[in-house]
Structures are given as C-alpha cells and as structure tokens.
Amino acid sequence: MKRLQSPDELLQLQQKYKKNRDERKTTISVCAGTGCIACGCEKVITALKEKIKKEKLDKVVEIKTTGCHGFCERGPLVVIQPDGIFYQKVNEKNIAMIVEKTIMNGQLVKNLLYRDPTTKVVIEKEKDIPFYKNQKRIIFNKNGLMDPTSIDDYITLGGYKALAKSLTELKPDEILEEVKKSGLRGRGGGGFPTGRKWETCKKAKNDTKYIICNADEGDPGAFMDRSILEGNPHQVIEGMIIGAITIGSDQGFVYVRHEYPLAVKNLSIALKAAREMGLLGENILGSGFNFDIEISRGGGAFVCGESTALMASLEGKVGEPRAKYIHTVEFGLWDKPTILNNVETWANVPVIIDKGSDWYSSIGTEKSKGTKVFALTGKINNTGLVEVPMGITLREILYDIGGGVPGGKKFKAVQTGGPSGGTLVVETADKDVHQSLVEHGDIQDDENIKSLLDLPVDFDELIKAGSMMGSGGMIVMDQDSCMVDVAKYFLNFLMEESCGKCIPCREGVKTMWHILDRITKGEGKMEDLESLEDLSQVIIDTSLCQLGGSAPNPVLSTLRYFHNEYLAHIEDKRCPAGVCKELVAHAIDETCNGCHACVKPCPTDAIIGKPKELHRIDQDKCIQCGACYQVCKFDAIKRVRTDEGDAVQVKAKQLWQSHSPKKTEVVM
C-alpha cells in the first residue's frame, strides 16, 4: 500500500474507492462479533465460501465478515445486500439453501427470516425489524457494512475524512470548539463534558502529553466498547488522532481487556494498516504531525477502569487509584498531562468533526447530546446492542426495541451503571414497589408517583431518579430475580475487585457483604437493615475512589424499592423469588405430567416417580441445586418456603387422585 502524502491524496483515494464500488453487487455479510463466533459463525463462513466457489459465483458475489450487528440473541446473522435480507440463527447446513434459493433465484428462505415473537409477523429486511427500526445508529452504522480488518472498507464509507478536515480546514482551537459545542459527554459513566476535559489538558504546559483510550470495559454485562473495537477499530483510532492534534500529543495508548482477544487482534491489524498508509505514525498525511498508538493489554482488574488506576497499570504497576484532587489532565500518565476517554467517546469524535457540531447537537436532549449505545441483557427477549438517541424513554428501549420480558414473566427492574452504578430503575407504578416505598418512608400511601420507565434516558434525568447512565449496561431482571441476592452479588464482585488500598472499601464492603449473606441465609435481624444504611454512608463519604464511593449503591437502591423483599427474608425466612438456597425448598405440584425429565439431572436421586405418574421430591435428599427447575418444561417444580415443600406435594397427590382416578398408584 502506498503511503498517502497529503489530505488531498486521501480524499482522492476515497473518491476513487467510492466510484469503483458497485452498489448493486450482491454482498453477503456475516456477523463475526464475539457473540456470533460463540454461536458458530465461523463454520457458516467456511461453508459459504466453499459453496460460492463451487457455484462459480465468486466474481459476482462478495462475502464480508463484519463486526457485530448488535442482535446477538439471533446469531449467527447473515445479511444479503443490497436488499438487506436478514437471515437469523443460520447454521452451516442452511448455506446451500441460501445460496441456491436467494442468491441464484431471488427467493426467500422463509424459516430463516425473523418472526416477531409478539405479532408473529415474518419480516424480510434488516431495517424493518423492530429491534433495528427503533434505533438511531450514528456510531454503529458502519459495523454491518465493513470488514473491520480492511482499511479500504473504512475509507470507502467516508473514514478518515474527519482527520483530513482536522489537518486542513480546522485549527486545533477550532476542533476543540467543535467538540465543546457538540455537547459530547464522556460515555464511560460519569458523563463529564469531553470538550472541557480536552481544554484543561490543552492549556496544561508540558512538551509531552498523552492520549489514552480506555477499553478496559469492566462492567459485567456491558460489551459495547468491545463491539466497537472489534467491528470498527479505525473510527476509534481516527478519534484519538484528532484528539492528539487538538492538544498536541505524539503518543497514545489503548488499554484493552485481556479477555477481548478479537478486539486486540482487529485493533492491531487496523493500527498497522493506518501506519502503512501514512495515517498514523510520523508525518501524518504529510502534515509534519507525528502521533502513534500502542496497545496495552490489561490484566483483568475492575478497578483499572478508574482513570488513575488505569494509568498506574499502564506504567506496569499494580492498578491502585490515587486521590482525585490531582487531575490527570494535568498530571496523568508518568505525571504528564493526559486525556483519557473511553472507546465510545473516541468513536463519537470523527462523527462530530465530519458532520459538524450543529448536526450532532441536534440529536438528544438539552444537556445530553448525541446517541448512547446500550448492552441490553438479562431477562429480555432481544438481547443485544442498541444505539438510541438520548432522551428516548426506558419503556421504548425495553419494550419497542428489547421486545419485553420473555416467557410472559413480570418485569421487576433494570440495572444500569454496572456494579459501581449498581442502581435500579423499577416500575414505580408497581404495587409491590409502591408498598416498599411507603414502608421505607419515601412516599405517602395515597401518593401517586409516575412510572420511572417513562423517564427520558439522559445523564441528568437518570441521576435525578436515583440511577445513573453508567457505561451502558442494562440488565433486565424479572420476577425470578431476588433483589437481596442481586445486591449481594454486586457486593461480592466489588469485594473481590477492591484493590485494598483504603479501609472503608476494603473492610466496609466486606462487612456489608457478610450482613447480606446472613440475610439470604435466613439469619438476618431487623437491626441489620439499619447497619447497612449506616455503613453505606460511611463508605460513600470516606472511600478514596469511586469504586468504593459507589459500592453501597446496589444495597441502598434495593433497600429503597424492595424493602418488602428484605423483610420477607428477615421476618418470614422466605425468598419470594426462590433464589436464596437456604430459604427455599423444591417441590412438585399437580401440573406434573410424569414426563420423567427431571429424574436424571438430579444429582442426589431425590426425585421419585415412574413415567406418566406424579413425581415427588424427597425433601431430605434435595440439596436445592435447581437442576430439576431448569429442565421442567411444564412449570411443575415450585420453589417454596423451606417448610412448605411437603404440603405442596401432598396437595398435588390429592388433586391427582381426585382428577384422574386411573392414576391412583401415585408413589408417595
């Protein structure tokens, strides 16, 4: 590849690529994000390549392995352009059919098309599927159209145009002005205005400055940064170069999670290609400006998502954070002024520069501009990545895009912001939640409060509601999730991830976990709830960094909205969701049809019963492992209070005998 000598040469090349591109050419794009790879898309790609070759179609059909399309639930995904025909859950055996029917004869393979689970309507095209239709993709729009390992694809789609503009039309001050005017706020969690961060760093007097991209996405249940790096690494690189031009930096780092091997691979390929073309390294596009980027693989520590800890880790040290009053924009990596933004924030920069701050700030709400990518996971029909304009309501995200809670179960809460956000948005109009708020003393009994689900998603609105945007994980929970257990889960996570430097976090979180552990085992006391609130306040006030400072959030928010569930655990010794093992007994009720499926998975041979007869769980033998609950297709396994197991089974026996006289030989 020839090195480009000037921004003009880049734009000419772009024109040439665009002209040579045949828009009508049949392109089969197969999603090869981590989600689809885990579903076996590699076999699909191999089969597809073989079949296309066999049918001698390789001249007229192009196969593209792209980054994540977002609809992970339905992977592996195959999209046929230019029409946008969308095939889901494709396996290698379907390939012959797809090629023969769709590619060669223009017919659809009906059983691979998406069928809307609620309306049962079959949808042909990607853009018409509710999951995609209701999104607004300005960061993710290129993902499905390009091969992440091809710099040519990125350039064809308008890539590096913003860089050319930053080197010719705009002066560094003007770039800064654009970023400030766009209203872009950090997408990593806090929502700090990006332009202001850049400005302070630009003003700091030092010959050496650094640019860092935080790709150590530590929040469990969030994976948008990974998908951007995997699917479109050049957009992040371009954003970082523009940032470097603005503040005058010659070295950048991408700190990426070791658990994301594909992101590391695609990013390395992209960096190499950018260097070869003269877009990165010395004398970028003949401008005399030098900037290079190095990859640093993190060692898997949640606290390294915190900026000062991340910088310590980059220096090859233990990732311990330091006090916040020394700002990293002035004294960051090796005590030099440093800008640290996360992947999604960097990916926004080229879009802002290319389309202008006016266009960008027309999207979103007054104080939150642009779009936000969320990872929608947990108990939701359409798991995947969604990019939505700021200001959309949670209801729209969860129901219009996410398709609601599966299996007709009741929505309980959605958790945002990861463990450090640890906060919940609940249906406040819900009876149980309402009751909890009354008992907790937050509202009066006759007070009617608006459902939080109708809240616009916006940095400030969410904080006002006691939640936060966070990095974009949205984990949906239904009636089967125990909120005490969820709070305990987050504390356990934070306890393990606490770096141990300051006492409130190291000891305080541990103590809180022990209290919750007691509660989930049925050994809780009413005073425990008070202790939890007291401890929380101390930890919030005295922790060194935000990991500790926000650690009590999951407890405080669940205490507020699900006070009743805590009471059930403490006073009734009952876990309403049936999750806490020590408070649960498994029992089979009358819905059992004797399918016998639960017998084999039982590790202790506690299930007794012949095929086609009512089964029964021996309460003494059962260890509450939940294996039978998982396999039962008829919802006959009930999780009840420890002393209610026998009663349920006795009643089941009576009902069976009275309803079906033939089935009297119930083994009891």
């Binding site: 929040d219 469990p220 693989r297 060692g299 980059l314 984990i475 996570f493 294996a627």
Partner: protein, 173 residues
Amino acid sequence: MTTIKVEKSYDVKDAIDKIIKKYNYKPTALIMIMQDVQSHYKYLPKEALELISKKMKLPMAQIYGVATFYKTFSLEPKGKNHICVCTGTACHVRQASIIIDKLERDLNISVGETTEDGEFSIETVNCLGACALGPLVTANEEYYGNMTVAKIDKMMEDLKKPKVNKVKREEVV
C-alpha cells in the same frame, strides 16, 4: 496439588528472553510480558518471575505484586482442561450459580482449584461480553452458550474424549 514439570532451566531462559525481547524490555509492558509467560506455561512459575525480575531490572516485590493483583495471573498450575464460568450480571440473573455448583460437585473441587489428576480446573470470569448466550461457560477457550445442567454433562463428555491437540500441549509442558 498437581505438579507440572517446568522446562529445564535453559529452556525457561530462552522462552522468557524471547518474550521480553518482543516488548523491547519496556517496563510498561510488564503486564503483557507476564501474560505471554502465563499463556506459555498456563501459570507463572517462580523461576520465570525471577528471570523477568533480573532481565528487566525490576524488584521482585513489584513483579509479585502485579502477579497477585490481576485476575488473569495464577501462581498455581492450571488443569489441562481449563473451564471458565462467566459470572457477569447477565449470566448471574440467568443462574450461573447452578452451573458452578454442578461443576464443583462433579469435579469435586472448588472454583480456583485443579483436580488431582491435573485434568480439570474451574475458574470464574467477570464478563466475557457474550451476554446473549448466558449462562456462558468456556472450556479451553471454546464457548458453550445457554448452559444447563444437562448441557454440562455433554460438555464434560466431550472434554474427556482424547484429543489430537492434547499431544501438542504435553510437548510444551
């Protein structure tokens, strides 16, 4: 605890030298150097750490600190079949704990341990980012999605079958 024979000392030297050279002796690359050593041996042998300390002129205390701080590192040898259960929030609400209990019960070890014959080890990971497939398990870096207790049995059967690449791995250790 299992003991896996470490290569003869000159081999260790060669391997470590190669890895350190790849990163130009940069102290910033310490974590990545140790990751490469770990993927070579499947854990961090003491000799290797001492060599890194000597070659890179870094105190052993710093290296030990890094080795014990980050989750990816292990000072104990791992099993030939490395099973990793995702305990991200999405997997947790889809009951990853049942899967962990099942594995612990069947292999008779706890998370973080290796079976006596050195065949299996179980670990947990915070999030693998394939939340649509939760609960998710990886075995030797291969993904097994939407796991149930029954599917674990099947996975274990697969893992117990003799494999071609097993020979290769034995050559390394």
